[in-house]
């Protein structure tokens, strides 16, 4: 494969009227100048990328490389977030690549109704993430987890008893956390247009010692974002053993896939 071979990386789909103003001078995942392909009342935000880095085989290899993945994910998000600042945007999943501009035009044409419906859904709205981390010790403290007497010589029986106590406390903590997570999610849904729970992720990935009990994300009317944040703060004050973390605003990554399904 020649290093001159190129393809079209898709970042996002937007309404077509003001695409020129909105793409500005953005730089994409391959250091390329971001441009737009117009198709009627829609535009695709794209960049020309090299196949030796972004072709199928290269992607397969590169996606396994944490450094590459990190840099490329941030570049992909940076373009989408920049576009989001100037109006509604449909983020496209990272690593969607087309052979040429004509194919992207075809896409805009054949999926027009889906894209328009999705744009309608996200207009004037932002995505906010809320994670809840459970402090197992604090959650279990509701029970009577007797502390191990200091200096006690640890026999096999003592070990087993302690282990059993720990397991009971662990179960209590888990059910307490699940109940709290449900309460948080239900409360936040009242301040959002939509919301969903995502898989919590491994502790090793979150980098937190605490255990993730809720990985929620919410589509919120922009003028209700302050209310939403206030609700998170209030939940934090009334919840014991749970630490809440809010992220965003995000472009509506988690709420466009349902409308535009492949």
């Amino acid at each position: 494969m020649s290093t001159d071979d190129v393809a079209v990386w898709l970042y996002a789909v937007i309404g077509g009227e003001v695409a020129d103003d909105r793409t500005g001078e953005l730089t994409g995942v391959d250091g390329e100048r971001v441009r737009h392909i117009d198709g009627g009342d829609l535009s695709a935000i794209v960049g020309t990328v090299h196949l030796d880095e972004f072709g199928e085989e290269a992607l397969r290899r590169n996606l396994e490389n944490l450094d590459w993945l990190s840099v490329t994910a941030r570049a992909h998000d940076a373009v989408i977030s920049a576009i989001a600042r100037s109006g509604p945007v449909l983020p496209v999943r990272m690593a969607t690549v087309y052979l040429d501009d004509e194919r992207v035009k075809e896409l805009l044409n054949t999926r027009r109704q889906d894209f328009l419906a999705a744009l309608d859904l996200v207009t004037g709205r932002d995505e906010l993430g809320v994670k809840a981390y459970g402090d197992l010790a604090a959650l279990a403290a509701g029970g009577n987890s007797a502390p191990q007497p200091a200096g006690e010589k640890r026999s096999g029986t003592a070990y087993l008893m302690k282990r059993k106590q720990q397991l009971t406390a662990h179960e209590k903590a888990h059910s307490a956390a699940a109940a709290e997570a449900e309460r948080v999610h239900a409360t936040l849904l009242r301040h959002a247009v939509d919301g969903k729970q995502r898989p919590p992720g491994e502790p090793a990935v979150t980098g937190k010692r605490a255990w993730t009990v809720l990985n929620g994300t919410y589509l919120v009317d922009r003028n209700r974002v302050p209310t939403f944040r206030a609700a998170v703060a209030e939940l934090q004050e009334t919840t014991i053993g749970i630490e809440l973390e809010i992220t965003g605003p995000w472009p509506p990554y988690s709420f466009t896939g349902d409308v535009v399904s492949s």
């Binding site: 072709g55 199928e56 999943r93 969607t96 980098g207 992220t247 605003p249």
Partner: protein, 69 residues
């Protein structure tokens, strides 16, 4: 609460895990020409496994699971 949240799309100090959660698992899923099976979960899962092992090796052992005493 750790609410170090900027109020706009820029100036965000994004944790990689939250970002990947969205750019790899979210967004509009369209089958491109050079498709991989990125729409399939397998590739993403493999990538996340790489991530877990990479990040995991950087963290100190977790005292909660790091053995007795």
């Amino acid at each position: 609460m750790t609410d170090a949240v900027a109020t706009s799309y820029d100036n965000r100090q994004i944790a990689l895990v939250d970002l990947l959660d969205r750019v790899l698992a979210g967004g509009v899923v369209i089958t491109g020409d050079i498709t991989l099976s990125i729409a399939d979960v397998d590739l993403v899962v493999v990538s996340l496994r790489t991530l877990i092992s990479s990040v995991g090796s950087l963290l100190p052992p977790d005292p909660a699971t790091g053995g007795e005493g």
